[in-house]
């Protein structure tokens, strides 16, 4: 093999010598740093760059498979990261809203995460990761930055269960914010709440905001409940049928504030005495 190589070199010795001497000359030239050589280097780099650009058009099939695999991995990783960032952004928005509520509100609040939820039954509830130990008591109102959620139904030392507006047992004294018309909010099933005890003659229009009224001994006044979706008269009845679209989206509810306000005991006692006096109707 070496002999054959030697024979080839010997056969083309003139060319081999020329190549060696030219290489030596060019190497010597390369050690210089003159204007001319800088210009040549610049031209060479441009030419090589241009040629690389031209040849880059030709795909390297051997590398494509590996490149695809790398890109797929990167895609999965980036998708995961985007998903987590999106989640963080939404959480951030929610928490900002809640923080704003906490700062503006006149009451003390205890934030809690919804760790359990039912929405398909007639007595729907949510479970929160705050309980007696956190100062939570039965009947304390539950709110978010969007509005009223419900009230606390049961308490354990570390957890509590809230009765939400989509629960057939809940009643909330409410009023139409624009016209100050009072009524009682309750849920009869379906996707909206209903406002009762509103006479036909009273001014209620779709789009009106509905808030908690001053008549409740549980819910502080002025908390948004929802918006009037429909108000219609029923033939043969003295009252209107009013549908309320709740302002809280219970399907996506993830955090809530417990309003750390105990009902006024004097008022509760008085209300009870009045009810006892009136007796069953």
């Amino acid at each position: 093999m070496i002999k054959r190589l030697y024979d080839i070199v010997l056969q083309f010795r003139e060319y081999a010598l020329l190549a060696i001497l030219l290489a030596l000359s060019i190497a010597l030239l390369a050690f210089n740093d003159t204007r001319q050589l800088r210009s040549i280097r610049s031209t060479t780099v441009s030419t090589v760059g241009f040629l690389q650009d031209v040849f880059n058009v030709i795909p390297n099939y051997l590398r494509l498979s590996h490149e695809n695999q790398v890109l797929r991995d990167l895609n999965v990783s980036l998708s995961d990261e985007v998903s987590r960032l999106r989640e963080a952004k939404l959480e951030n928005l929610r928490l900002r809203g809640m923080l704003e509520l906490k700062e503006k509100g006149a009451f003390r609040y205890r934030g809690a995460t919804v760790v359990g939820k039912t929405l398909q039954m007639m007595r729907n509830t949510i479970t929160l990761d705050a309980g007696d130990n956190d100062g939570v008591r039965i009947n304390m109102p539950l709110v978010t930055e969007q509005g009223l959620v419900g009230k606390i139904l049961f308490c354990s030392p570390t957890y509590s269960v809230g009765q939400i507006l989509f629960n057939k047992d809940i009643r909330v004294s409410a009023k139409v914010q624009r016209s100050r018309v009072d009524g009682i909010i309750r849920w009869d099933g379906g996707r909206t709440l209903a406002m009762y005890n509103v006479a036909k003659t009273l001014d209620v229009r779709p789009g009106d905001a509905v808030i908690t009224s001053d008549y409740s001994s549980i819910f502080p006044p002025g908390i948004r409940i929802g918006t009037v979706a429909e108000a219609r008269e029923v033939t043969g009845s003295l009252f209107q049928t009013i549908a309320i679209e709740p302002s809280v989206d219970f399907a996506t509810l993830e955090e809530a504030f417990i309003v750390l306000v105990a009902p006024d005991s004097n008022r509760v006692v008085l209300d009870r005495r009045v009810r006892d006096y009136a007796g069953p109707q």
């Binding site: 010795r13 003139e14 010598l17 020329l18 001497l21 030219l22 030596l24 000359s25 060019i26 190497a27 010597l28 030239l29 390369a30 050690f31 210089n32 003159t34 204007r35 001319q36 050589l37 800088r38 210009s39 040549i40 031209t43």
Partner: protein
């Protein structure tokens, strides 16, 4: 061996003449390339390998003497090429006829043209001169001048070959 020593001695002499007396031969910006004539002579007389090596060594010495204005290796590169090309025309049995005939001038012209093209193309890089300007302002005149000076040894060899029959 004696022949080689004689060639080396003559090479030194040519270099001395070129460096000391070369300035008296300058016309405008153009001067004849005496070492190149000597390299072409060596290539025709001793063969392609000798011509190539002589070109490289002459070029290297001229570079060291500052002929390429700091571009060490430029004269070596162009004279190596010229020596190699001139060596193509080496014919062991007809060296004197080639040296004493028009062939010498043709070979010298070709070698000089290649040499000057290579030399000036690199030497004038970074200037705004076009290839045409380089060729017509420096390459061609230097080639013609060198070839014209090459007529002197050609006539010398012509007479020498006639004397020796």
């Amino acid at each position: 061996m004696r022949r080689t020593l004689a060639d080396i001695a003559l090479s030194v002499l040519v270099l001395l003449v070129h460096t000391v007396l070369g300035k008296f031969l300058v016309v405008g910006e153009i001067s004849p390339d005496l070492p190149l004539i000597w390299v072409v002579y060596l290539a025709i007389r001793r063969g392609q390998i000798a011509g190539t090596i002589a070109g490289f060594l002459f070029g290297l010495v001229l570079d060291a003497l500052g002929a390429s204005e700091g571009m060490i290796g430029l004269a070596a590169l162009s004279k190596t090429l010229a020596g190699f090309i001139a060596g193509y025309f080496y014919n062991e049995n007809k060296t004197l006829q080639t040296l004493g005939g028009y062939q010498f001038i043709v070979i010298l012209a070709i070698a000089s043209a290649v040499h000057n093209l290579c030399y000036f193309l690199i030497f004038l890089q970074g200037t705004t001169m076009s290839l045409g300007t380089v060729a017509f302002r420096y390459g061609l005149p230097t080639t013609l001048y060198t070839t014209a000076v090459g007529l002197i040894p050609m006539f010398g060899f012509s007479r020498s070959s006639q004397v020796h029959g």
